[in-house]
């Protein structure tokens, strides 16, 4: 690692995307992007929460209990999106053998696990008043719980292997195999007879909910996206420093500070 001959402005250059794939090039770029994504997260969350609690009408069946939806659905969406993103970074690392890819996969995993836990927790608190139970072993809930274990497995496996490049490859295999669980979660409400309701929002037909509810939920989902990007970028900066602490560019960074 100490001999890192990569040059940002080298004649071998390549295009900007490949230059950014070097951890030392991505480190300052990530630092500049974090405040923007954090600001966007707040900017989406504030009107999202306002619509969720002060504009969206009371549900005619569930009363006010349905307001859990504005947190539950964005959390559940992010739990699946982030897993796919993590697996894509992991696969990219396996195929191209780029160092940054594995770091990105590791940076996404804890945020994905957090949203998965939140989806399960809010689901339990929504299920109790509407279904009469905190938990039921139906296909949707069980596959979402498996998703949480996949995140835990990925984090535990990559932390258990000392050599980061080997840890990345082992984690990548687990992450890619686990992707099969994502369509199972998504289609579980169609494939099996579940207590969990079907999708309220779909690309192929009009959403089955009031417009203000839908807009509030989508704003909260956008806020969750922006938060996730900011959190992953912040984490990847720490991972880069941890893994490259012996590299010349990190020493120069330290000299500057």
């Amino acid at each position: 690692m100490a001999i890192d001959s990569y040059r940002l402005d080298g004649e071998a250059g390549g295009n900007w995307l490949f230059r950014l794939a070097a951890p030392q090039a991505f480190f300052p770029v990530a630092g500049k992007m974090i405040p923007w994504f954090a600001a966007l997260a707040v900017l989406f969350a504030l009107p999202g929460l306002y619509l969720s609690f002060f504009v969206a009408p009371t549900d005619f069946q569930q009363g006010e209990a349905y307001r859990v939806i504005f947190l539950h659905v964005p959390a559940a969406w992010m739990s699946m999106f982030l897993y796919v993103i993590m697996a894509c970074w992991a696969a990219l690392g396996l195929i191209l053998n780029t160092r940054l890819s594995g770091m990105m996969a590791s940076a996404v995993a804890p945020t994905g696990a957090m949203f998965t836990f939140l989806a399960l927790w809010t689901g339990a608190l929504w299920g109790k008043p509407t279904w009469g139970t905190w938990w039921v072993w139906d296909a949707r809930l069980t596959s979402e719980l498996i998703l949480l274990f996949l995140y835990f497995g990925f984090i535990a496996l990559t932390n258990a292997i000392d050599d980061p490049r080997r840890a990345d490859r082992a984690g990548a295999v687990l992450a890619i195999v686990g992707v099969v669980n994502i369509p199972i979660i998504y289609f579980s409400v169609k494939w099996w007879n579940t207590l969990h309701q079907g999708a309220s929002v779909s690309l192929t037909r009009a959403p089955s909910m009031a417009t203000t509810m839908l807009v509030g939920m989508l704003l909260m989902a956008l806020a969750a996206w922006m938060y996730s990007i900011a959190a992953a970028l912040w984490r990847v900066r720490s991972i880069i420093l941890e893994r490259e602490r012996d590299a010349q560019w990190v020493r120069e960074l330290r000299g500057v500070q």
Binding site: V55, E64, L71, H72, L125, R235, S238, L241
Partner: protein, 48 residues
């Protein structure tokens, strides 16, 4: 949606425990992750 009073808002039509229990955990999760992220960044910079 006009709640009328702060008490009604907290009460959430009888579902306050479930609604606020959800959002409270959301705040705890995000605050917890941000604290861990800040600590990891501080340690990484110190050891770099």
């Amino acid at each position: 949606m006009n709640w009328g009073s702060f008490g009604n808002f907290v009460h959430m039509g009888g579902y306050g425990f479930y609604v606020w229990g959800s959002y409270l955990m959301g705040v705890v999760c995000i605050a917890g992750e941000l604290i861990l992220l800040a600590r990891r960044a501080r340690l990484a910079e110190r050891r770099a």
